[in-house]
Symmetry: C2
Subunit: 350 residues, 2 copies
Amino acid sequence: MGLHMGSDARRPTLRDIADRVGISEAAASFALNGKPGVSEATRQRVLQAAKELDWAPHHAARALTGAGTATVGLVIARSAQDVGSELFFHRLMTGMQAVLSRRKYALLLQVVDSVDEEIAVYHAWKRENRVDGVVLVDLRRNDPRPEAVVELGLPALIAGGPDPAGVVPSVSIDDAAAMTSVMRHLKETGHERVAYLSGPISLLHVHRRIESFWRASADLGIADCRSHATDFSAGAGDSATTSMLRGDPRPTALIYDNEVLAVAGVGAIRRMALRIPEDVAVVVWEDTPVCTVLQPALTALHRDPAGFGADVAERLLKVLAGEKVADFEERVPTLVARASTVGERPGDAD
Amino acid sequence: MGLHMGSDARRPTLRDIADRVGISEAAASFALNGKPGVSEATRQRVLQAAKELDWAPHHAARALTGAGTATVGLVIARSAQDVGSELFFHRLMTGMQAVLSRRKYALLLQVVDSVDEEIAVYHAWKRENRVDGVVLVDLRRNDPRPEAVVELGLPALIAGGPDPAGVVPSVSIDDAAAMTSVMRHLKETGHERVAYLSGPISLLHVHRRIESFWRASADLGIADCRSHATDFSAGAGDSATTSMLRGDPRPTALIYDNEVLAVAGVGAIRRMALRIPEDVAVVVWEDTPVCTVLQPALTALHRDPAGFGADVAERLLKVLAGEKVADFEERVPTLVARASTVGERPGDAD
DNA sequence: CCCGGCAACTTTAGCGCTTAAGTCGCGTCG
DNA sequence: CGACGCGACTTAAGCGCTAAAGTTGCCGGG
């Protein structure tokens, strides 16, 4: 029924096209790749034949002759995949995909348990020639990955750099500026005591945020600041919030490094019968659907993971094309002020 | 520094191994693939040489000789990727990966905007020989995809079936049983008027849930039931909740099809100054971190997306191996009763 | 003692495509 | 008018691996 093309219908090859047009395979190849060596007339006939036969280059065959694999790899270490950042990851990936697929590149995904395994995957990919390049995410302090991929000769790009060692180009998010905008906002809304509940310091971006937190504290003259590292879990969010708020004097504003932490924190705040934002203001470092839907809505740092992913992919493709690419800094995340810091403002059209 | 293996160091091939051992390429190939035709002694020497040279089969070369591509594809249509289900998807994927990578399979990912584009991707993958098989997600009513992959001769498996047409095997979740358990729970906690805020009926699983909802309503004798389809958005969750609760008599329990809907709904409920669960009980069809962290914690249907993904991958691999696989039903999601239906029970250790 | 048969290889061919190195006819320049 | 250059192809080789079809050398049976 209809044009039946079962699995047995051998896919067309260059041979078929060549035969149909009455030329050699090589000529057909030239024509299809826009190379010189065929007349325009012939080229057209080849193109036509290719279309009629529904021909497409055999991916493996191409890869075998030296063209790349048209595939980029992404390894997700399970630790980087805690519940708080899954959404971010997912969007990063889909963002990457948007540009990759436009360029006919595929995304190869792998989930592993540790950084060591991750490096093992890079080895395997390289040995088997499975990918042309990889994206490194969630850099840690003293991360062995940049060195590893360089040594392997595996083109790479860091999502969320910059690379301290400077050996792998990166696309990064300006955590310092973002933190500054958060602190400025808190300063402007009258806070003098703010606590930052961060993720694990082993993560490079967390480390940077903490540094900026203290710098901003100094620069803006916010006298009483404290920070506390968590493991990103709800439990940690709850207990850290509780102990912070037991302090005397207690902080008037809390910054949470992710959504899970924040929602747990809000729960703890409520349990202590404190009001948001009158008693404590809350800011979250990631704008997720939950932020807008909670009551009060949470002021959040809004970034664009998909756009980030797109930039990452774009630059990785440049690396693959042999271009030297410089480190790139994303647009600074914007602070979206909501009720959790500014209170209900009826006229707050949005 | 250390064992340097720059990108220029040509990767070893069968030739290298053969030379080193002093046999032919073919013999080496036999040895490495456990085929008869070489003595055990030789086989060992080949294996040894392969290890020493850090050899691995060239993926493209293998694919070219008829072996598969050791890659399975997954296309995500952007519509299926609304904020409420991103988490589910992400976990599904990582679950698939767990089994795929163990078998040396890779996951190829693609994001598209429509079902048509999705089918186009399958065509392209097939033509270019990029994948051995694909996973179909988020089946709709009259979905053209099962037919399409069959016609293409592209092995496939449906995640979240069963396929109404019965042409593609599936791994499915028993929505009917799940819905029944929800309804039974509500009946037991004394509800006689329940409203179901579902996703779009065009989705097969939503359709099934709605059907089961009504069946359960009849079976359990829950007199006053109503259901309302939404687009999964927070806005819809808010407005649908509001209008439901304006009904007279108003429902005493609300079932939400996903997290975003639920959180928005809880917001609306609060705005109407109703108490949870005293005035309205709430159940969510997906257990996410937010459920446990909200106050009151939300009773939720807990499934295991990663386990689901693993099952899907496993069965797809069987299909690829040429085995006939029957439709498979996952363990029924379990209802996790929390404060939003049963109230605060201090003795509720967990 | 010769031949079939078998184990243990080797040779050859080929997967689908690219590319370097021809080949051939034709217009052109000295 | 002949060598030369060039456009338009064709041939051949090869990417790394697999698999079918040889090729040995050795052993046992008739």
